[in-house]
Structures are given as C-alpha cells and as structure tokens.
C-alpha cells in the first residue's frame, strides 16, 4: 500500500508547471480569445516535445508506455494554469481510444497506427465525439474525428464532417456541433468492441476533467487569498475578517478531500479499467463540487471586481463551470454510484476501502 507519487512523476509535473508558468500568463490566454484558432501553436508544439500526447501509448506503438497514474498530476497542472489547448483530451482520451481500437480490431490497426504516430508527433489533431457531450471542443482544429454511432466507433477526416461553431461561456473553448454520416468505410470498431471503447473513453474523459477541476479550484482559491491580502477596507485587508476567511477555508476543505479520490480513480483506470466506473464517478463529483464552490466563493471575495470581464478569475471560474458538466454531469455520476450502492452484493464497509484488497479494486 503506497498512496504517494514517485520522483519521476513529481519531476514530470514540475517540468510541465514550469513551462506553463512561463508560457501561459493570463494575458496570453486572453490573446487566444482574439485569434481564429484559439490555439497557441508554439505552446502546443512544446507540449508535444514534452511527450504529453505519447504518454499513455504503449512503447510497442511508439509511446512512452506510462499510465493514468503517471498522467493525473499533469492533468491537474493543466487545470491549475487553465490551459486552453486540449492537451488532456489528446493524451488521456484520443490517444488511448486509438490504442484500444488498434488492439481490438487488427484490420483497422495499420491505418490507426499511422494516425496515432501523427497524433504523438503533433502532426494531426484527433477529436472525440462521445454521445454524452453535445459539442466537441476545438472541432474546427481537428484533422480527424472519432465519433460514436450507437455503440460503433467511426473515424472520419475533417473534410467529411460539417461543423457548426457554437459559442461557449468560456471564451477559451471553441465548440462545434457536428453533422456527419456513418458508413462501412468509416467504421473502425463495431458495436461490441465500440461499447467497451466508449465506456473506457467516458471514464478517461471524466477523469481528465476531474483532475483539471482540482487544479482550477486550487488556483482560484490562491487568487482569492492574494486579493484578500491586498484589498483594503475599513483600513485593513478584507482577508482579516472571519466571514471572508471562512469562505476560503471551506474551499480548502473540499479540495483537500477531493484530491485522494481523483488519484485513486487514476490508479483504478490504470490498473483495473473495467472496474473503474464508480471510482471515476466519485472523483468527478467531488472535484466538480470543489471547483463550483471555489468559483462561487472566490468571485464573492473579489467583490464587484469578481463580476468584471477585466478580472482574470473568470478564466478559471468559467472553465470550472463547463468542465463540471462535460463527460457526464454530477447527476450522471451520482447516479452511477447510486446504482452500485443499492446492489445487495456491493462490498461496502470499513474493510473495503480498496475493494477486496488482494487485487486492485475488486468489488
């Protein structure tokens, strides 16, 4: 039993944090809002150079052969800096979905392996359309789409997908509504393989959002703490007031207890993917709640300033609002936990924190 991250994992996270701290100040995020693509090609290239899109790809397929446990703090870090580029989805959703199909469908493997290599090299962007998400982020920048039709998975080039741009409340996001036609030529995973692929994809998507929500929540509280020390009223910083302190202490408590479930969910996805549903749902709900509270209370601490376009807090708050609803909202995920809890044979109780204890998370 070891619930700590190793040195390699810590160092990878520190490297990414240093890169984002240097390359992603808030004004650079605002610059993206003025651009057509919404993406900073230079930073995207640096993330590829760091190996992000190749992280979860097995070494046999040219990747780094790491897993969701290795990646989870990187996803958290992307949230902390409110990274607009869809790096988490590329690494944790698109690439592993390609890998799953390559393993499950030998006839499509050569084509998909080539695409996977382009994805890892930063030469192709692959967007994933899951039926739970009505829109696809950065659809306009994608070269390829992996889309669901029933349980089947189809692969389409951008030229065969009609995209209607939709404006998100979060200006860093570039959503698109898709229209497309499935055919025998586009099918890469039939319903049986596809069902397993989509289930795993949903868990990886929700896990990526949960980690980003943690990072977003943490960053919002830090901004509010700094503001509470600066802003003076009645001749003192507003942060000396208990009414203000307790708003942010409540956020700290929620964040503190959302972290371990997110890391456990990552471990479960990595080690026992078919048993990861409830662990992921637990993580997504608690991280989502932490981010909602952090957004609400941080805006309150900033006062009228918090309600302005000028205040950078909006970058984090809006991302928190939208990521909480994407890849299954709180209702969807609580319902998954509930369905499991009402089963008479569900293993619950003090001795089952980690399932049966002899193999990862057997319940």
């Amino acid at each position: 039993m070891d619930f700590t991250f190793n040195q390699d994992q810590q160092m990878f996270t520190e490297t990414l944090a240093a890169l984002l701290a240097a390359e992603l100040p808030a004004d650079r995020i605002r610059q993206r809002w003025q651009s057509d693509s919404g993406i900073d090609a230079a930073l995207a290239a640096q993330l590829v150079e760091l190996g992000l899109p190749a992280m979860l790809v097995p070494e046999a397929l040219g990747g780094l052969g790491l897993d969701a446990t290795d990646f989870i703090q990187l996803a958290e870090c992307c949230g902390r800096f409110a990274l607009p580029e869809p790096a988490v989805e590329g690494a944790l959703v698109a690439a592993p979905l390609l890998v799953d199909i390559i393993h499950g469908n030998p006839s499509a493997a050569p084509r998909l392996t080539a695409l996977l290599e382009e994805l890892m090299a930063g030469e192709a962007a692959v967007a994933v359309g899951h039926h739970l998400n009505p829109y696809v982020n950065f659809a306009g920048q994608a070269d390829w789409f992996l889309l669901g039709h029933g349980n089947a998975v189809h692969l389409l080039p951008a030229s065969e997908v009609a995209i209607t741009a939709v404006k998100s409340v979060d200006p860093s996001r570039r959503l698109g509504e898709l229209a497309w036609r499935p055919s025998a030529a586009t099918l890469v995973a039939d319903a049986e393989l596809g069902a397993a692929c989509w289930r795993a994809t949903l868990n990886r998507g929700a896990l990526g959002n949960a980690a980003q929500l943690l990072g977003l929540a943490d960053a919002m509280v830090k901004q509010a703490v700094a503001y509470s020390a600066d802003r003076q009223q009645f001749g003192k910083p507003i942060g000396v007031n208990q009414a203000v302190k307790h708003l942010l202490a409540d956020c700290a408590v929620q964040i503190e207890f959302a972290r371990a479930p997110v890391y456990r969910a990552a471990y479960t996805v990595a080690q026992a993917a078919t048993r990861a549903d409830w662990a992921v749902s637990h993580a997504k709900v608690v991280a989502g709640e932490a981010a909602q509270l952090a957004a609400r209370n941080s805006i309150q601490v900033f006062g009228a300033m918090g309600y302005t376009w000028e205040c950078d807090l909006q970058i984090w708050a809006k991302r928190g609002w939208v990521l909480d609803r994407e890849w299954g909202d709180a209702g969807f995920h609580k319902n998954r936990v509930h369905e499991w809890l009402v089963q008479p044979n569900a293993l619950i109780g003090p001795e089952y924190t980690f399932g049966r204890g002899d193999q990862p998370h057997a319940r």
Partner: protein, 388 residues
C-alpha cells in the same frame, strides 16, 4: 503508487479479524458514561491488552506492536468491522499517548504508557476552563512550583471522561506573573489526590460524559510535568493536532456508519417521499470514502517520513460535519419513528443506534477546537490569509 495491500498487510488483517471474531463481546456494552458501563469498557481494554492489541502503533516496550500507520488503519477497519466497543481510554491512547511519546522522559514513558496500553489507568482531559474555551490561552488554573511539587488551585470544565477516570492531563499556569500562552505547563494530575473535586455534568443524552474539576491546594510531584516548565502551550498544540487529525477519528468509524446508512436506505427507499434523501445518502457515502482515501494518503506519506501540518484542521471539519449529515439523513429516513429510544428487540432492529449517534454527532463540530477556530487556522496557517 500501489493501492493494494502487501501479503504481510493482508496477513495482519486476517490476524486482527480472527482475534476480533473470537473476542469482541457478543452483546453491546452499556455506555461508558455510567459506572457499570465504564467498568465493562475497562474489562474490554484489558482483554485488548492481553492480546497485545491495546495500541498497535506503539513500541513493543510499552505494550504495542510497532505497527506502521497503514497497519493501524487496517487494525481500525477490522475493529469497526467487528463492531468492537468504543475506546473508553481514547483520551489517553490517542491524545496523551502520542504526546508522551514525543515529549516525556523515558521514566515517564515507562510509567504512564505501559499502564495506558495495559488498560490499567483511564485518562480524562482537562483543557477548558469557564473563562477559557476557544480562547485556551486565557487559562487561569494555577500550578505553583513549591520544592518538588506543584500546588494546583482553580477549576477545569468540560473534562471528558473525568467522572470515572484515574488521571487527567492538561495545561496549568505555573508562572503566576505570565500572560496568555506563556508560563503554561503540561501536567498530569491523579484525580484521587486530596483536594480534587469532580462534579459530573450531564450531556445532551442525560449521561455524565464530562465533568467540572475543582482543585483546592492539590499537590502533584514534579515528575508529573511533561516537557519543560513553561513549554505547555507548544506541547498542547501538538496534542490538539493528534486529536483533529489522524489518531482520534480513524475513517473506519465513519465507514461503519455510512455502511449502516446505506443498509437503512436500501430497506426504506421504496417508501421515501423526500427525493433529496437519495442524493444525501450517495454524498455521505462518497464523502466517507474520500475521508478514508485521504487518510491513507496521509498515512502513506507519514510512513515514508513526511510530516503533517495545518491540513489536520481540514480533517476535523470534514469528519464532524459529515457525521452530523449521516445521522441527520438516517433520522430523516426513519421519519417520525426516529425520536423514540428503542425499547424492544424488534425496535432495536428497526431503529438501530441512530438517535444516540445523532445526539453525539452534535458535539463533533464543538470539541477538539470548534470548527470556527479550525476555519481560522486553515485560513491563516494553511492558506496564508492575513491575521490582522
């Protein structure tokens, strides 16, 4: 990260389970806040000690097993799984014990820890005074040095377990000229010493779970002083850290409650009219699991030489408010039946111990430093918000 138990840990669990199955009393003991119940619980502590299960994390020299914190969590899980009696000596083993381990002399450790683990001496705490609750630095109770002794005069209040306990530990003002947190010392006091008067105070459930203690020229030998004279505040803060954090409220206790809550909900869900109860049960379950996972994370870090800080204040807020929510949810599921104390076997089956637990849960956000004080600590020490 490796979230599976080692073979050794699984074997340890099996050993604890086997012992608990063979030794946990079949019928629940009476409350330890009455004389008979207190005696029953002491007998249980002695049974535990005989099996060497008194305090598994302690060194073998003091009756422990030198277990890691992860093993301690496993022990606790099996303890609550077996529905073993609550620890009547929790003030001693979970709060004073770790303090002595860090600050006491070898002679003091040998004298007090051994008897604690053996279940031979029961401990009460003596922090609060009528004028010093949340503001503990306002302590006035004096312990004036006189030769080899301290002469104690004053009053303590809300002293948990003091009604039947053998000893109390607490902070006393050893420098009469001192102010606030200076000049305080951490002293152990035998409650049968001449000049000690203990007056029981009935709690919300009508039982005398705490007491007032009056000291009238009570003489205590210097060898009952823990740490240096005047260093009491620092030592007391460490003790409070144990209480808020890891030791006092292991997750297993709450996992047991949430399991009972889920079982209660399964039995009643078809006739619940309040749709919010489904959400409440799911959230309680998830929050308890979050607490367990976070505790494993901390234990894992500490076992590898890490340290615990102001985040222990987060623990205290989280478990105390969660405990209230769980009991409120159960009371709502039981509806109008919830107010009744079970008076038959059938009713006991139906109502369980939710009413008792509900009453006790009300104290959680108050004791061990009120949750408002904890929020100040989190804001100032963990987040770095301005003090004034």
């Amino acid at each position: 990260m490796e979230l599976v138990y080692t073979a050794k840990q699984n074997q340890f669990r099996a050993e604890v389970r086997e012992w608990m199955n063979a030794n946990v009393p079949a019928t629940p003991l009476q409350s330890f806040d009455c004389k008979e119940g207190f005696e029953q619980h002491i007998a249980w502590e002695k049974t535990l000690a005989a099996g060497n299960w008194g305090m598994v994390t302690w060194p073998e020299a003091y009756g422990g097993r030198n277990c890691s914190l992860v093993e301690w969590l496993i022990f606790e899980e099996e303890y609550y799984r077996a529905d073993a009696p609550l620890r009547v000596n929790q003030n001693g083993i979970f709060l004073l014990g770790p303090t002595l381990m860090e600050y006491a002399t070898d002679a003091q450790k040998a004298r007090f820890l051994t008897k604690m683990a053996a279940g031979e001496e029961m401990w009460a705490q003596a922090w609060s005074e009528p004028g010093a609750g949340s503001d503990m630095a306002a302590i006035r109770c004096k312990a004036e040095p006189e030769g080899d002794e301290f002469v104690i005069n004053g009053q303590k209040i809300w002293s948990t377990r003091a009604v039947f306990a053998d000893y109390a530990f607490g902070l006393f003002r050893t420098d009469p000229q001192s102010q606030r947190h200076h000049g305080l010392s951490f002293i152990l006091v035998p409650l049968n010493a001449p000049g000690v008067t203990v007056r029981p105070i009935a709690q919300l459930d009508g039982m005398a779970g705490f007491a007032e203690i009056f000291f009238d020229d009570v003489r205590v030998n210097r060898d009952h002083l823990i740490g240096a004279e005047g260093e009491g505040w620092k030592i007391a803060m460490a003790t409070a850290g144990f209480e808020r954090g890891l030791m006092l409220r292991s997750p297993a206790r709450f996992q047991n409650t949430s399991k009972r809550l889920v079982e209660l909900y399964r039995r009643h869900r078809s006739d619940l009219l309040d749709a919010s109860l489904e959400d409440a049960v799911v959230r309680c379950y998830m929050d308890v699991e979050s607490y367990a996972l976070a505790t494993y994370q901390t234990a894992s870090r500490l076992d590898r030489g890490g340290s615990i800080g102001a985040e222990s204040s987060c623990n205290k807020i989280f478990w105390s408010e969660l405990d209230i929510r769980m009991h409120q949810t159960a009371m709502s599921i039981l509806g109008a039946r919830a107010e009744v104390e079970p008076h038959s076997e059938a009713q006991q089956q139906q109502l369980g111990r939710w009413l008792d637990g509900f009453l006790f849960s009300q104290s959680g956000p108050i004791y061990a430093g009120s949750n408002e004080i904890q929020r100040n600590i989190i804001a100032e020490r963990m987040l770095g918000m301005p003090r004034r």
